[in-house]
Subunit: 339 residues, 2 copies
């Protein structure tokens, strides 16, 4: 097996040298980054094999891409811009140097697309393959869009197609053994290579978003985070949700109802609350900036006597607050009880 | 099992709220930190159970402390100051909520001591217990002390006692089963609760250090990093190395020679190159600021016809460049070959 330092030297081609905001890149005790007077924004997300991805479904490149993209998505949801990233790679012996390199290639690809410099990291031996990425970004202090801040009367908008990643993974794993060949390629791609909607995040922040989140845990669970932080409730209209192409057909094939199909999580769509008079124009601009669907999907309401997140369907209001993926409980308890 | 969001709520007491440089603490998509015009410094280190610590030797509090302290040590080696930290906790089902809380308590303790705000993180289910911490710090742009910069003629200084952590772990694991009761408590503490020598790092930077590193991989391996980055060689004198109290006695008990005893790694001592006329005063001040041993231990020399890191002993010059702990190879190949 290649020694740690030799492998790190080989991986240097995927890491950013000094330049632009990177004053000191990889290869020292720490990296040094100039945020040009902005405030620092910090997010971390870890992906674990068998939990967040399946070897039969996602390549090492896909995993590297996703590890960077989901962190950039967190920054998009703040209206912030990613600048630099570091990685902690937990590597079992069975993972070859070529596979590590593929993972780094995927990280570097996403970092390039999202304007983020991969400035270093740590590689540790472990029995479980996992990759933990931390992204550092910048935002003008006070201009970040938080989860708290939504007010009754605000419109709720969603930018990005819902349901694709969950449907793609669902189709690929519907049989006795995972088979990505079974899935609609568009849906599978959404699971393998989620997009961080940074331009949309900036556009919504500029338009005066009062609260924003990215849909990672699930539509209901994530909007519930906004509601709890803001002390409000949300009312969504099922018919207005921007469902990704191919999701409803896949849901039909899988025998999954429409509500479950759109609530699945890992969409990395952005949901924002906005003053209602600006909502239509803001969502149109944000969606156009990304080339993804977007719509006004509901409104922020007074929390009294209402579910935290209600979904208006033809057959009544569904409580969506508990719908989503809790990596622990997987019992829908996440967000079911307002604090 | 406690759901993810419920546990995260319980852990909130260990996380920093907004205040001081923290504009937005935990509980949002990302944290926002004001670096007050300084450049951002970013370091990540992951610890894996069974590789970086043993359950029989270190408590969950110890592991949490260490995960934060070793990252702060990386910042000390840049002459930087830690400001905020995030954690990715990889948690097997068997790890109880109380144990997770103990780990967070240890992280919060170290964060408090080192002036770092724990501003959030990610908890993921995994078969292998691991904790990956990223620390964000600040430094005046251009004032960071890198690995590159050492010049022939510079003195080499070391602040912090060498050999303690390796000897403590060595004693605890010398028998058929690990038993911390066998180890000198001072040495064991160095393994369980390493210190980040931030004040010493600042003092050495102020004194004009031309290159600096913290001793994590091992004295020879880490000084070799400075030598490669700077294009120089280093010459150390065994008799001048600041050996931690109790190390030589433990080495005797373990049947380990003196060179191996001081080269073991995980000391988190700081090694810096300095103009020779300032070295004595600088190391005395830096050691006094921490209450640890410190000494001028050698010099930077022209690399021609010399080992990368030579250790002068009574019986000749030992090539120390390959001595240290490579988490992969464990064959001493790390740093054996200059690039």
């Amino acid at each position: 097996m290649t020694g740690e330092f030799t492998l790190i030297a080989q991986l240097g081609r995927y890491l950013a040298p000094a330049g632009g905001p990177v004053l000191l890149g990889h290869g020292d005790d720490a990296a040094v980054v100039d945020l040009q007077g902005g405030a620092a924004v910090l997010a971390v997300d870890a992906l674990v094999e068998g939990r967040h991805w399946l070897a039969a479904v996602s390549s090492f490149e896909d995993v590297g891409w996703k590890a960077v993209a989901v962190n950039c998505s967190d920054l998009a949801a703040m209206g912030a811009s990613p600048v630099a990233a570091v990685v902690a790679l937990h590597r079992p012996d069975r993972v070859t140097a070529a596979q590590v390199e593929a993972l780094y290639r995927g990280m570097a690809e996403a970092a390039g697309v999202y304007g983020t410099a991969l400035v270093g990291g740590d590689t540790v031996a472990s029995d479980t393959l996992a990759v933990s990425v931390t992204v550092l970004g910048r935002v003008e202090a006070g201009r970040e869009v938080r989860r708290a801040g939504a007010r009754p009367g605000d419109a709720l908008v969603c930018v990005g197609g819902l349901g694709a990643a969950a449907a793609g993974l669902g189709e690929a794993t519907a049989g006795a053994t995972p088979d990505p060949g079974r899935a609609d390629p568009r849906l599978l791609q959404a699971h393998r290579r989620p997009r961080a909607l940074l331009a949309a995040g900036h556009a919504l922040a500029e338009a005066g978003a009062t609260a924003m989140i990215d849909v990672s845990d699930g539509l209901g669970a994530d909007i519930a985070h906004i509601c709890r932080a803001s002390g409000v409730s949300a009312e969504l209209r099922l018919d207005d949700l921007p469902v990704a192409d191919g999701v409803l057909a896949a849901a039909d094939r899988l025998g999954i109802d429409r509500v479950t199909a759109v609530a699945g999580g890992e969409d990395y769509a952005l949901v924002a609350a906005l003053p209602p008079e600006r909502a239509e124009e803001a969502v149109a601009g944000a969606a156009a900036a990304e080339g993804v669907p977007g719509a006004v999907v509901g409104r922020i309401v007074d929390p009294a006597r209402r579910p935290l997140v209600g979904l208006v369907t033809a057959s009544g209001v569904v409580d969506l607050s508990g719908r989503g993926y809790d990596h622990y409980a997987q019992q829908g308890d996440a967000g079911a009880t307002p604090p």
